[in-house]
Symmetry: C2
């Protein structure tokens, strides 16, 4: 790098409300009912606002393609197929994944109010954005939310193996605080989430070592060659174990796809994915005074923050802290959208004959 | 190593029943009621049989010391302090940790039978052995068991920090199969569990790099210097996030210790630890036909096993497979107990004036 090299200019920002409207227009144009389109658009734009750039409007062209080519049902009849006081199994009728998951999260909160805890699974769902969206709905109701899902592309072999039978199967957990924001963990069980690799590919950036290996076990850093290698699970065999168990809990238990059944919707827009997710809500008031508990959570936040730091670290961060800071900033100032994504969305608008973003 | 170096002879084996009887004798001698002593002894010996060597009879001298010095109550009045149809909070009255957790697991299974899912927390508990014991109880009842706890020694700083505010806070999940054993994950959220480090110290073996770092961030491999350094969480910030969330779920939610409150019972035998654990049971029949589900779990097992392997791996393993194989072998042929452990137990027997193992 020469001394005169300048950083790339920051991409122009787009208001969150404009993103919501654009997604809604696009989905309505492919026959999604306006109310459903608005719900999905709000959750997708929330993802962008929270910094989940690989899970927001970035995915819109793919969702539209899935609807147009038959993998996704634009007008699903989402229903509860089995139920107990604290549980339900929701069939998403192969609609957009956000719809079944929003229903599942709302049902979990309602059931936990009565039972103290609830577990709601989905089958015949689809990609539903970043995991954190749904446990956050529980946290907003003074509950703890926990979510697992089966990822949509198998890129992880069982530990020691060479057949990619597992996805990045993530977990998200949200715990509300009082003065501080909710503590929200949202993590793939691999060192890198697949969405981040797709974003690297779109931005023409190399991946750091440790994200992927090739079929000989050597580091793979070209994101465009992702299909030739494997993602590395966190902690080796441990991350494999987590991905496997979350797959059993979110896929197998719900009668949804897991293992060889998983359909990679980024390469197959015709076959329904039968995505499975599981959502839990725990009513804090079943265990503690809610305000006292939230104060205790604030204390945990402060305690972690108070730790001295290692060289190279400015401060200790809490899970969800960065996402919350971005959310506040982007709700006020808009979401920066890079030129390649903007171009893809403009092309989508042309194809759908709708107003551009 | 010279060519004539011979492997150390395998330690002599001791029958599982003899371990149960020895632990029972020891606990009864320090005023634990015989029925409680037998329950704890059975769970501790199961740990040894399953290969959880750092969590079985190895811990007995410490438990005895805690009872003798006042940290643990030999005759607890364990009771449910709050309850909803699907939840309960169990107060362990500072008794041996296995007693409160066995009660919590049984209650979770009973409540899940009615609600489909249950969540039971403990407070004023103590170290309760390896995490897998309790979700296995649910799996034996055709349920899925999930367990989190707050570990008993803070050895992990928040990511980027240098104050050890977190323990290895583990998770265990058990899912029953039909032809195959249950798939059972039992893992610390650090690259190495603390029990393994204690065992390395007792065996005078160095730790591999990656388990711990010192306060300057350099690798630490001498297990006797463990108190000078930190355990490394799996996946860096991700393992920190998991340890933090499991601490909130098993400690803070239950009114149990977490963060600076945590008492390291291996160095303090006088202060009650107020250990917290959380146990969940999910009734499979609320979601699927139980036999069909277990067959699906078997298929997942077979699918993982069928993967070709990387160089250096003989086969792909399932979580819990090694533990199950050891269990069968050790129930038949006994548990190998190394000379240092045998010596510690003989000395304990002398101090307590009970028959040796």
């Amino acid at each position: 790098m020469s001394e005169t090299a300048k950083p790339a200019p920051a991409p122009p920002r787009v208001e969150v409300a404009a993103i919501v409207q654009f997604i809604t227009r696009a989905l309505v144009s492919v026959n999604v009912p306006p109310e459903d389109a608005a719900q999905v658009a709000a959750l997708m734009a929330e993802s962008d606002a929270r910094g989940g750039d690989a899970h927001g409007v970035f995915r819109l062209p793919q969702y539209v393609k899935q609807i147009q080519e038959g993998a996704v049902n634009a007008r699903p009849d989402i229903r509860v197929v089995s139920e107990r006081p604290g549980t339900a199994l929701v069939d998403g009728d192969n609609g957009l994944g956000h719809l079944a998951m929003k229903r599942a999260a709302e049902l979990a909160v309602e059931k936990a109010r009565r039972c103290g805890v609830a577990w709601v699974g989905t089958r015949h769902g689809n990609h539903a954005g970043p995991a954190q969206l749904y446990p956050r709905m529980a946290a907003a109701q003074d509950m703890i939310g926990i979510y697992f899902c089966v990822g949509n592309a198998n890129l992880v072999p069982p530990w020691g193996g060479t057949e990619a039978l597992l996805s990045t199967n993530p977990i998200a957990i949200a715990v509300p605080g009082l003065r501080h924001p909710s503590i929200v963990l949202d993590m793939a069980t691999t060192n890198a989430a697949f969405g981040k690799i797709r974003l690297k590919a779109q931005r023409n950036e190399p991946m750091p070592e440790g994200w992927m290996i090739d079929r000989e076990g050597k580091p793979l850093t070209d994101p465009k060659r992702a299909s030739e290698g494997f993602l590395l699970p966190i902690g080796g065999a441990k991350g494999y174990g987590l991905a496997l168990m979350f797959g059993l809990l979110a896929g197998t238990l719900n009668g949804a796809a897991f293992g060889r059944d998983v359909v990679d919707y980024t390469v197959d827009s015709k076959t329904p994915s039968n995505t499975g997710q599981s959502m839990m809500a725990v009513d804090i008031s079943a265990f503690a005074d809610v305000t006292a508990f939230k104060q205790d959570v604030d204390e945990v936040w402060d305690e972690m923050k108070s730790s001295p730091t290692l060289p190279g670290f400015d401060e200790v961060r809490l899970p969800g802290e960065r996402s919350e800071n971005l959310y506040r900033e982007r709700m006020a100032s808009g979401v920066p959208l890079g030129a390649p994504l903007r171009k893809a969305l403009d092309e989508l608008a042309d194809r759908l004959a709708i107003a551009k973003l």
